[in-house]
Symmetry: C2
Subunit: 503 residues, 2 copies
């Protein structure tokens, strides 16, 4: 047996532990009785702690060190007979190991404790719309993230070290360039809108039976090519998708916010699910069997939710089935429905934003995060900068902090560097799509005829099957022939909203 | 901190691992996509193996040895300031440890591998009704169980060592006495029946909508005092109840076998659930927070399914609600419904047997198991002994082995010594109930009025709250003032079926 195979056999239990951790989270968010939360936290802390301890143990280091120089990342000569996948896995294992040993156990514990309390305080603060209540905890979380950045190390900005946790290879400076290019472009479109809601909103004030919605959800998943052998759909407070491994992918949706919110959540999580299901099953224990980054993941969800799911050809095919499932909408024409789901309007809450205003919500957060982590603004500046930026980008000012800077859980839970991946998802999706469109200039007629296999095959062939073998930047370059660029996204938006832009 | 508290703090993660193992099983039997089964087996094997390794480690032994002499089970002098619960926990931890270290890792692995394959072969053999296909694997499982018995050690019969795994303190000789006393008594009643099915069976040939059944299930659980804060009900192929810990109890039922089968499954699993929910929550990491034995658990499920659930007062209260939920049954009178659910008829399949014939199914299995483990019969004798015993006890002969000796999964999965606990459950339930009846001679009128709290309180006060502090025999003695006896069960059956007996 090769050293590589021995290593894999010996340490694959670490991945089993991470799978169990994911299942515990899934269960907590779907079916767990509420009274079980206290002991669930103990289970999670133990399993996560064990996975971390095992993946940073001296036995692990020694076994890895036999194949690769951990300091330089160079493969040892005698291991050069490795396959491409094996080489990529070794590179990723080494990167993960180097990152993990930089964070001492005591730091990880403090981080966990502080963010757990910060999240509870944030919930209260949001309810009371009281930023002052949250600010000392936000201060602590920012300080911990600055400490984390310095433990992890960086070249230019401490924020780079945090972005790297979610989007390997992308830096604050890259993001600044991409985002500053988008801000003016998108704000100009927003200025053309009338600030009013969709005229067709009233059609959706009907009560739609949950069973009917679930039936249509299954039809959507079936249409997307998602079967029930390796995945399932449940309800939860917030929609999510968790790939426990490529043969066990769990999606959730939510019925409380409205019919369309449910439907686009299913398309969104379905996009995530297809990525997870397309990862190489035999690599379940290795990086090659895992997704490349949050941004790349988001590109797959936005592909289905927006590029396809808010396109006319898609609804040419689905709309008769949709009206059959929800006869309350018989009198709403396809053309008006299409206008409704693509209506652009500035709004306060990110998660309900349309595809034009959405990136502006993200860029606002990116700018705040960057400055907080780089120490160029203080916590007390946040509400004011939030509100003035909202006004500059979207022309509206939140009436209170609950619908302003207190709306998201991310900062409380310690996720600095995560927000940008939401906007990157749109940029990547449009860039991939432009290449896809070159291969299938007739994609619209195929989709309108209910054919989706060719699209899934393309996504699998070019993106899904590589797991972490390429990071997003490398994948984009390989697939599209270009570096990451906002041009494709701008072209897509321009084409789709040309009437609005030219008015 | 006392040695006890240090030990508890240091090793409670072992119980967390066992909880996770239970959740993985629950998920596999309820929601897991079928394609995930292969990696689920790896997750389970790893978690179970880790729990076993940690609970038999030298660190664990040393910490335990500081408080108790593991060889003799005697507490060390300096630990005499312990509470009753702490003393009981130390006794059980020691007992568990001594048992576990007797089984070498290699044996546990072989046992797992053989029973996994045996279960797959059994499924096929049952489908084909081909005992010859299963017999070499049954042979292996019996041999492994004989080996297990000799590793665990015993005084009289190797079967004693196996029974002790499920029903601590009970021996084959005790069971032989109890069961031989029941055989004649029950067989005599069976001989009085006409061998025909219930005349009211046709009423249940309607299709009952699953949602309506689920609604009624929740009403049953609510009536029993089971809320949704610490428990939940789902569907699965076979009904079960798993107490992950006293704040997280999962019940399942099944809708495929008929309305009544679902309802009595809910009452049965509800009885198990009340026991699990009644265990002391603060003792989640210790034996005092765990159930005492399979037989005691079964007494709680049979209490609700049969002693209460098939009583007239219970249906005096529930029947109007039942008819409202299922208007198809409006024309079936309560009196005829009561006769129907208590109709006695010999049948081949254990899990569908009524309360009079059920123990005879168990006693047949007990006698076979005992002889197989003691080596007084061979595998090839099984089908013949099965059929002649069925004829002697129940007056019927299975038409094939699928509805005879191949019907149960238990032997394939390695469970020898488990079956007797099903009959013990009935014996214990009747014995506990006779004491309960002395405290509440008016229980029937209370139940008929929809009051159940007094009953739950009694069960909690006398049984649930003690966990493993007393084994079943000790509990029975404490609560009822008598040793385990079949007299109470016989009295209960005689009183309930007096018309049949006297005819």
């Amino acid at each position: 047996m090769t050293l590589y195979k021995k290593f894999l056999e010996k340490f694959s239990y670490i991945q089993l532990l991470r799978q169990v951790e994911k299942l515990l989270h899934w269960d907590q968010n779907t079916y767990m009785p509420s009274g079980a939360v206290e002991i669930r936290a103990k289970q999670l802390a133990y399993i996560a702690g064990l996975a971390h301890a095992e993946a940073t143990s001296s036995a692990y280091r020694e076994a890895l060190e036999q194949m690769v120089d951990i300091n330089t990342g160079k493969l040892r000569v005698e291991e050069e007979g490795l396959t491409l996948i094996e080489k990529a896995n070794l590179k990723e294992w080494t990167k993960d190991f180097r990152r993990m040993i930089k964070l001492p156990q005591s730091f990880v514990k403090t981080y966990y404790t502080v963010t757990t309390t910060a999240t509870e305080v944030w919930k209260q603060a949001r309810q009371l719309s009281n930023f002052a209540l949250f600010s000392p905890w936000l201060q602590k979380v920012v300080e911990l993230n600055r400490e984390q950045a310095s433990l992890l190390g960086y070249v230019e900005s401490p924020y780079d070290a945090l972005i790297d946790l979610y989007e390997p290879g992308v830096t604050a400076s890259v993001l600044s360039t991409l985002f500053s290019d988008l801000t003016g472009f998108l704000s100009a479109i927003v200025k053309k809108t009338n600030g009013k809601g969709s005229p067709y909103r009233a059609y959706f004030n009907h009560a739609f039976v949950q069973e009917d919605q679930m039936k249509f959800n299954y039809l959507l998943l079936e249409t997307m090519g998602i079967g029930n052998e390796n995945s399932r759909l449940d309800g939860s407070a917030h929609p999510f998708c968790t790939g426990i491994h490529p043969s066990d992918v769990r999606l959730t949706t939510n019925f409380d916010n409205g019919l369309l919110e449910n439907i686009f959540a299913v398309l969104h999580e379905g996009g995530h699910a297809l990525y997870e299901l397309g990862l190489p099953k035999e690599e379940w224990a290795t990086p090659a069997g895992q997704s490349a980054s949050m941004g790349l993941h988001e590109s797959q969800s936005r592909w289905w939710e927006v590029m396809v799911g808010k396109s006319l050809p898609f609804w040419n095919y689905m709309y008769p089935k949709f009206q059959e499932a929800f006869p309350q909408l018989k009198s709403l024409s396809l053309s008006n429905f299409y206008q409704h789901i693509n209506h652009i309007q500035s709004s306060y809450i990110r998660i309900y934003a349309d595809e034009v205003t959405y990136p502006l919500h993200i860029i606002l957060r990116f700018e705040l995060e960057k400055q907080l982590i780089e120490g160029t603004i203080t916590i007390s500046d946040v509400p004011n900068i939030w509100n003035t930026t909202m006004e500059a980008y979207l022309g509206i000012i939140p009436r209170n902090d609950a619908e302003g800077c207190l709306q998201d859980i991310h900062w409380a839970s310690g996720s600095f560097g995560y927000f940008p991946t939401y906007a990157l998802g749109n940029i990547y999706a449009a860039q991939y799509f432009s290449t896809f469109e070159q291969s299938f200039p007739d994609w619209e007629s195929k989709v309108a005829a209910g054919s989706f296999t060719f699209m899934n095959n393309w996504l699998w062939e070019h993106i899904h099957r590589f797991g972490r073998m390429y990071n997003a930047e490398q994948s984009i370059k390989r697939v599209t022939g270009h570096s990451i660029s906002t041009q494709f996204y701008k072209d897509y938006i321009t084409k789709k909203y040309i009437d609005l832009i030219n008015q």
